[in-house]
Amino acid sequence: MGGPSEFFQSQLAVSASPGFTWGRSGNTPSGTWLLNDTVPSNKAGRTVSLSAPSITQVFVASENIDTFDIGIYEHEGDEINLTLLGTVSIITSRTGVFNVAFPVTSGRQLATKIETGSAKNVVVGTQLAGGI
């Protein structure tokens, strides 16, 4: 069990890292990678710089009441060593918040994809925990 300083470091990291988000406008069918800042996340994702990182929460939003699965991936860029970390399912809803525990390899890039179903104007975000 870590000391107070480790706990403090972890909580600082949590509060600083909720802003990993992806989105895709328009009708988005299955098999579509979401974009981060107009770039497909399978080509270049969100780099995780925390030590011993883990995704603790996934939050999803869409314009319509849709049913779809979101896959959370990590890779080293350009889909190299692309690995599925886990999926979350949105069922006939516009909003989904999921508490998860997806370990992530530090230094890799996070990417998100619609695995099944489809959604319109979809946005996905993650919250990570880890050390700095």
């Binding site: 895709r24 406008s25 328009g26 069918p29 098999g31 579509t32 990678w33 107009t38 497909p40 994809k113």
Partner: protein
Amino acid sequence: MSKILDNTTGAPIAISDTGVTVDNVTNYTIPQQDYDLWAASSDIITEIGSGNIIVNDGSFNLSISDGTDLIKDIFPKQIKLLGDSDGTKIGNVSDSLKVVTTPGSVSGAPVLSEKLRILSSITSFALTGSYQTVYTYTGSGIVTGFDIRFTKSDVLLKFTLDATEVVFEINTSNIETVESSFKSGTGVPVQYDSTKEVFTFDPRYPVPFTTSFKIEAQYVGGGAASNVLGYLVSHTKET
């Protein structure tokens, strides 16, 4: 102009650098906000070039060259158009532009069919002081002209379209009087040959009718009445 991708293979194709998988069952329409993303894609160019994906502009499947140009936001070298109402192709050498005209009206072009008929009669009958029918036809078509021969002038002739539209009601002696001063061929398509006692209606343009037309005559002179000796009528029989 749309940008629609048709996967011609039997399996989904991942266009990796756009983050999109093009299904082999359902065509994928590129959202307008993603045009720049697709214009920068090299993966889609590879798939189009191999024939695995065909680009459709919303009307036509494009060639590899034109499809590539459309994805790159370079306007295709060939412009192809479809008619709005019936999908008629416009733009190729053999294509035609359809224009719908309304037959039988003054502003519309009359229908010129192959149903032209020349009718004749040499039945003689005496005219009276009231109108008698020389020739009538019920149906639609166009009148291209007619001749009527009499034994003498002073005949009042009436030409009526569709029961109520009177084209002319004219005395043959009036035509004679005018022609004695001005001759014929002045642009008015009626003549009366006083030597042969023949009235001629020779319109410059065909005269359309939709339900019927009728030629009537009556004698308005003195003494013995004029006889109709015969006629020639030219018109089409559309119905």
